[in-house]
Structure formats: structure tokens, C-alpha cells
Subunit: 450 residues, 2 copies
């Protein structure tokens, strides 16, 4: 027996988002979501399972979203895709014939080829409930944890794990500073310092050459000759698109083996098959070149577009701006668009504007935090290319203000005249508002003065 | 003896902002700031003097800003302006001859003609240090305070005064709900409830007809016949431009007696005289008509433009969008652009999109608050006209995200594809982000479906 339906979606968080969007746009279509996992975790919340929220059960996307949007859930593994017959074959269930298919199969953690990588208690960050529950249980018995990779995931894991009493946490980073692919050095150094203040050890310009121990990991060996005791190792060195099913079905892949999609989120190969989220390719907003950025916010944006476009071309995607934030030992760090380092490495002529102010006014209001903003403008045109923020919790939305301005190619001159809303308890003062003041400082250098 | 200088600025907060801007653009010019007040208060912080920050001395704009920007301060009252001679006459100092003049004389509180309004202990909210110190001292001895006017100032005063033990606080509002000129009813009702939860009494559709007592106020009489005991009365019914000096000098005034300025912030009358802040006229971003909005954020935006344009036309102002936020008993409320009520009263055909989500993800993260977003779009074009937010402290920057999108006339379709940055501790989840989801809900109705 063959099940037939209008829309089949394969995947996790982006799948849910694509499903909601297709339901909204096509109220009469049947939508079936197929996924291996019984429960879908909030991907960005995974590090917080190990400290603040205390367990994967407190970090799930509620399935009520599926019910309320009349999306049928099939919990099973998709094992093959027959594009001619338009059929998805499942491991345990009958195959499903689709009219439109959305691939939202996400990403897989990179497992480096290090001797000993397959020892017990060496974990990648898989987005799987039972797997992470196991990691949590192991961590609770551990004394020494080594985290390989000082990117977002590594830093957030370190900051959460250190909240467990008696656990010694060490981060090993290959580059000269943590978060290097995400932030300029001065922000990274601030974040590293916050983390080191908690007792976390950070080793930089260090590479893991082997993982030692009998069956279980006992230590990690570095290129410098250092040996770190470890009864648990976490790999946080990035992800690659999970595109195997698509590849086997003859769908064209692109950069880093992502599924190639057009600006309507359709695959290059098959107009009835869409892809969205970490499994597909993206281009940069700034130069149109392929981008390795993987962010839940980009993935859900793509999912909303894919779901809406299934039967009619409603939305078109932009290039990836890359807007994100992290939170280290009570201080937030965020970036929208290009960093100074990336802009300069790309040979762009730029002007920097920087400003700081308390995020309340007066600074004596409760919970006031110093907010620092750095903006990057194109020298020729004055158009904003990027911004970095460190501060309190409002940093999370401050980078979205900057993101909105980047999207609209706003100039420093226009930002000077920006009518930001302010309030004593909620924002910096109108006279010191650092986003605007950073632009003010860039205006003259852009014009070639000073 | 006549003092001569390049730039004279008259005024308080906007004056400082204009001064900093002119210094940045014209490093070689002499700038003199003339103001009556020895100390300038942060205007939006004034209600917080009466509770959270405990005294006007904790709510001042530091004069270090003047020194570091080489702005000479003359503390004196400007009594006359001679445009022919380009001279400002002062009460106690020698006159000053200017090349360029900036009027940033701000606003004056409206004093209604109510019998008894001149009794002792009836106070307007003047932006004067000693005056507010006196109000604070009186309040500390008071048992019953009546606040006339339930706009921002009235509500924020009420919320701060109630923090003083043993003080009974009553707000008298003429309209059918508080904050009516600022917010749609459902947000106002939420704010009123928060305030009433603290014990503050709110009387609506009520008007004060007289203020009774011997020399000092003893009670307030309402049109309904009610009598409220009061040993202190605060007037919070709005402000008008302070343009007397300009008027006497023959400078053209406009709407509500504001000083008429062009988009470069020059007065209509004299190209060497600029005006900015609450003393000047403004037009709406949405229809170009005169606007009565008075916000520190608009004032400082104008001041930055005026200061930059003194000797060369650098910046141009936009119409007023009106972006602001308030904070009532721990919950923030903000609006950017038009409210539903105002849009409908102007005969606009609109579509509303609404969404709510916790401002962290998962919702179990610490200090998570439910954030509610309401967006208003033009039915014809899908362009965003306004947005209202209630939530936690990130509301303050969330309205700035919306403000940036309004400024760029972003459509609901574009907002659906918005790449917002998200983080578990700092923002709503990427799947539930209410600004984007509110736009998603508006897309079909804009297209005429559902």
C-alpha cells in the first residue's frame, strides 16, 4: 500500500517551520512531516541542557505546533527517495508518494580523524534527545571535561558545563583566539576573559593529536606535547550539510556538499523538491559567494520561504547576512554582517566607528550594563556592512536593529538621523545611544576628513 | 564688551547633542552653550528620580561631555535675540555675537486653567534640578498624591511614587483609557492592570474641575463630584514648544507655536539660525502633516542633524516615526510608528498581524518573559506602518528593530524572510520569533486571502 499526500517534509526544526508556513499558505493541502526523532530539540538550546535548563526534556520544540497546524507526524527514517515515482521510502512505514517534497535534513557534526576519536565518552554534539541525555549523565559523573573547538558551541558548552560543581573544564582551540570565525579579536578576548573568570581553562594555538585511554577516554594529547586528563571529550568543531539522501537521488549538490537551491528554495535539479536549512547551500549577502554560515535563524527564514513557495512563488530569499549572539558568563556578544577582519581580508576599504554607553539611563538604574558597539562601513559609499555588540541582554535585539539596517543598505549618514526609541530602564540614553554614536564617529572619515 | 564666537547654542539636552555634533564636524569652530540650569537632567529619567534612582543628583547628564568636546558653558538666561546684529543678550553676562545660532530651548509643561492650580504643592514636571528636588522632598512627607494625566509621564510617575512606603497614589485620566495617544487599547489595559496591581488607583473618564485647600492643596475635585484627598498634585498633561525668545525675535512659528524648520533644521526665517528638539515643528513620516510628538530620541536626532549642518548641508531629517517604550511595574511596553487606532482614524485600510512567544528559548531559561507583538501593515502594499510590543527589557530594542523596518518601508513579505539573530538567553526562538511570525500572519490577508 502506498500513502499519498500533497506535501512531504523531511527534517527537524526547519521541517516544522516549513510545515507551518505551507499550512498557512495552502490551508487545503495535506502535509506530512517525517523525522527519525520522536522529539525535536531546540538546536540553539542544546548547550543549555548541560547547565541552566538541566536536561534535554526542558529544551524541546512542542509537538502541539504540529497538531495546531494540522501537520501529520510520521516518526521514521527516510531511507530512499525515488524522484521518478515521487516516493519517499521509509524504514518501518509504508512509502509515501508526494506532490511536493521539502528536504530539511539539517547538518551533521564534523568528526575529525584523530587517533582515539572512537573511544567511549568522546561525543559530538548530535541533535538527538537520547544521545544528549547520555552525554549529560556521563558529564554528571565526570571530573575533567575537554572541549575541542572554541567556536560558539564550544564556548557555550564550556560556560554551561562549568556550572556543574567539581567539574574541571578545558577548551582547546586551534586558532590564535576563540570565536575567531565569528567575531573580531577584541570581542573574543573579552568573551574569553569572562569565561576564564569562571575557572574554565582555554588553550589556544593548540591542536589535539590523539585521544588516549583504554576503552574509555582518559586523556587528550596536544601537538605541543601537553597532556590533558579527560573523562569526557566534546567535539565542537563545526558541522557539514546532511545531504546524503539527496545525493543518492541524483540531486545536485554544491558548496560543502549542500543541496543546491535557487532563490525560491527549489533544488536546482527538481522543481517539485525544495530544500531549506543547514542541508542546503547559501550565498553571502555581501558578495554572493557561497557561505558556510549555519544559523537557526537563517534556517527558519529559508523554511518559511520554502513552505510558502511550494505551489506558488511567494517569497524570495536574500543572501545570508549572518546575525547571531552568544552569552558568556552573564555578558552577551553579538555580530551582524561582516567583521572587520573578514572585510579587510576581502580587500574592502572600510571605516570603523565605535561607541560605548550604559544600556540604561542614568547608568544608576538597576541591572545597568556597559554596551559596546562597533560598526563597519564601506569607505566609498558609507553603507553599513557589519556591527558587533557586547553588553547585557538587550544585545540580542540590538544586533537585529543592525541586521535590519544592513539589509536595507543604510548609510552612516542615515544612521546619524536614526530615530531610536529610548527608555531609562530599557536602553542607552538618546544622547549616548552607542549604535547611533558609532555611526556619528564614522561620518567624517567616510567623507575623507580626519 | 562683546564676546564673539562661531556657534552659540541655547538649551539643555538637545543643546549638548547639537554641540557634540558641531564639534565633530567643525573641529576648528568655537562653540558656546548657554543655558539657565547649572545641571541638565536626563529628561526621560525624571520620573525615576522619585523612586528607583532616588534623587535628581543621580539623573544628570555629565558636564564632562562638554569639556571633552571643548564646548564652553555659560550658565545664564538668554533674554533677547537681535538677529540683525547676530547677538544673544544674557541676564548676567556680556552679550555674545554668533555666526551660527542653534535654538534648542525645549518645551514647557502645559498648566491647565483649573481653579486652585496655583496652590502650594501643585507641581508641573519642569526639567529643573532644584524644582524637582523640592518636589521630591514634598513627596517624601506626603500621604496622598494625585497625578493629573495618564500619559507616559503620569504613568511613570505613578509607578515610581508608589515605591515610597505609605504614599497613596491616584491617577486621573480624562480619556477612556490611559496612554491612549500612545498605544492601542489592549496594551494600555495591560499596562493599567500592572499599575493597579501595585495599589495605584486609576480613575478614567474623569476631569479635575478644581484644586481645593487653603494655601496648600488639600483635595482635588472631579467633574463626577468625587473628591480626592491630596497633599501633593503632579500635572502630567503634556508640553508645548518653548519658543518665546524666537517669537520675540520675529522668527516664524508653526504648529503649536513650534519654531518652523526645514529638513536641514534651519529656521524658515534666518539661514544662520537653526532649531532642534521640542522647541521646533516636526512632520509625520507617514503623511507629512505636523506632528505633536515630543520624544528625546527625536530631539537628539534633530540635534545631531542641526549640529552637522551649521556650515555645510550634511544631513537631512526624515519625518517623525515616533518610537518609544515605557516600563510599568516590571513589564515593558513599546510602540514604533502608527497604532491601529490612529491608522483607522486616518481612513487607512490596514491588516493586523499578531504573535506571542517567550523572549528566551526554551521558555524555561531564567527571567523569561512572554513577548507580544502586533504589527500594522498597509493593505494595498503590505508596507509596515507600525508595531507595538509588550514584554521584558528587550522590548526597548525590539521596537527599534521595528522602527528600522518602518524607516525602510519594509513589506510583510520581506519581514517573513528577515534573518533575525536569536539566542536562548537573549531572544525568542527562531521558530516563534514574534516580530516575524506576526508578519507571517499578515501575508495572506494582505494578498486578499482569508
Amino acid at each position: 500500500m502506498m500513502k499519498k499526500t500533497d506535501v512531504v517534509i523531511l527534517g527537524g526544526m526547519s521541517g516544522i517551520s516549513a510545515g507551518i508556513s505551507s499550512r498557512r499558505h495552502y490551508p487545503d493541502k495535506e502535509v506530512v512531516l517525517v523525522r527519525k526523532e520522536g522529539t525535536v530539540l531546540i538546536p540553539c538550546g542544546i548547550p543549555y541542557i548541560f547547565g541552566t535548563v538541566d536536561g534535554p526534556e526542558n529544551n524541546v520544540i512542542p509537538d502541539g505546533l504540529l497538531e495546531s497546524n494540522k501537520i501529520e507526524l510520521v516518526t521514521d527514517e527516510a531511507v530512499a527517495l525515488d524522484r521518478e515515482k515521487k516516493v519517499i521510502e521509509l524504514k518501518d512505514h509504508e512509502p509515501i508518494q508526494y506532490h511536493k517534497l521539502v528536504l530539511a535534513t539539517g547538518s551533521m557534526p564534523i568528526i575529525p580523524r584523530i587517533p582515539g576519536i572512537d573511544k567511549e565518552n568522546v561525543f559530538a554534539v548530535r541533535k538527538e534527545f537520547d544521545y544528549l541525555k547520555k552525554v549529560l549523565n556521563k558529564m554528571r559523573q565526570a571530573k575533567n571535561i575537554v572541549i575541542i573547538g572554541g567556536g560558539f558551541i564550544g564556548i557555550e558548552f564550556a560556560d554551561e558545563c562549568r556550572k556543574n560543581k567539581g567539574l574541571s573544564v578545558t577548551v582547546v582551540e586551534m586558532l590564535d583566539y576563540c570565536l575567531k570565525l565569528a567575531m573580531d579579536e577584541e570581542f573574543s578576548i573579552e568573551a574569553e576573559k569572562r569565561l576564564e573568570d569562571t575557572g574554565v581553562k582555554i588553550l589556544k594555538k593548540e591542536q589535539v593529536v590523539s585521544i588516549g585511554g583504554k576503552e574509555k577516554v582518559e586523556y587528550v594529547e596536544l601537538a605541543s606535547g601537553k597532556k590533558l586528563e579527560a573523562d569526557i571529550v566534546i567535539l565542537g568543531i563545526g558541522c557539514v550539510p546532511n545531504s546524503q539522501l539527496a545525493e543518492k537521488a541524483g540531486i545536485e549538490l554544491g558548496y560543502r556538499k549542500g543541496i543546491k537551491v535557487d532563490s525560491l528554495m527549489r533544488t536546482y535539479t527538481d522543481p517539485d523538491i525544495f530544500a531549506c536549512g543547514d542541508c542546503c547551500t547559501r550565498d553571502s549577502f555581501f558578495d554572493g559567494k557561497p557561505s558556510a554560515i549555519m544559523l537557526a535563524s537563517v534556517a527558519t527564514s529559508e523554511a518559511r520561504i520554502a513552505g510558502a513557495n511550494l505551489f506558488s512563488s511567494v517569497h524570495r530569499k536574500n543572501g545570508v547576512i549572518s546575525v547571531f549572539a552568544t552569552y558568556v558568563n552573564g555578558r552577551a556578544f553579538g555580530v551582524a554582517g561582516l567583521t572587520e577582519r573578514v572585510a579587510r581580508e576581502n580587500g574592502m576599504e572600510i571605516v570603523i566607528g565605535e561607541a560605548s554607553a550604559p544600556d540604561t539611563h542614568p547608568g544608576g538604574m538597576p541591572d545597568s550594563t556597559m554596551m559596546k558597539v562597533k560598526l563597519i562601513f564601506a569607505k566609498d559609499t558609507g553603507i553599513i556592512l557589519g556591527g558587533a555588540v557586547s553588553g547585557g541582554r538587550s544585545t540580542g535585539e540590538m544586533v537585529n536593529v543592525i541586521g535590519a539596517c544592513i539589509l536595507h543598505r543604510m548609510t552612516a549618514n542615515e544612521i546619524v538621523a536614526f530615530q531610536m526609541g529610548t527608555h531609562p530602564a530599557l536602553t542607552s540614553s538618546p544622547i549616548a545611544y552607542p549604535f547611533v554614536n558609532a555611526a556619528c564617529k564614522a561620518v567624517l572619515p567616510i567623507r575623507g576628513c580626519k
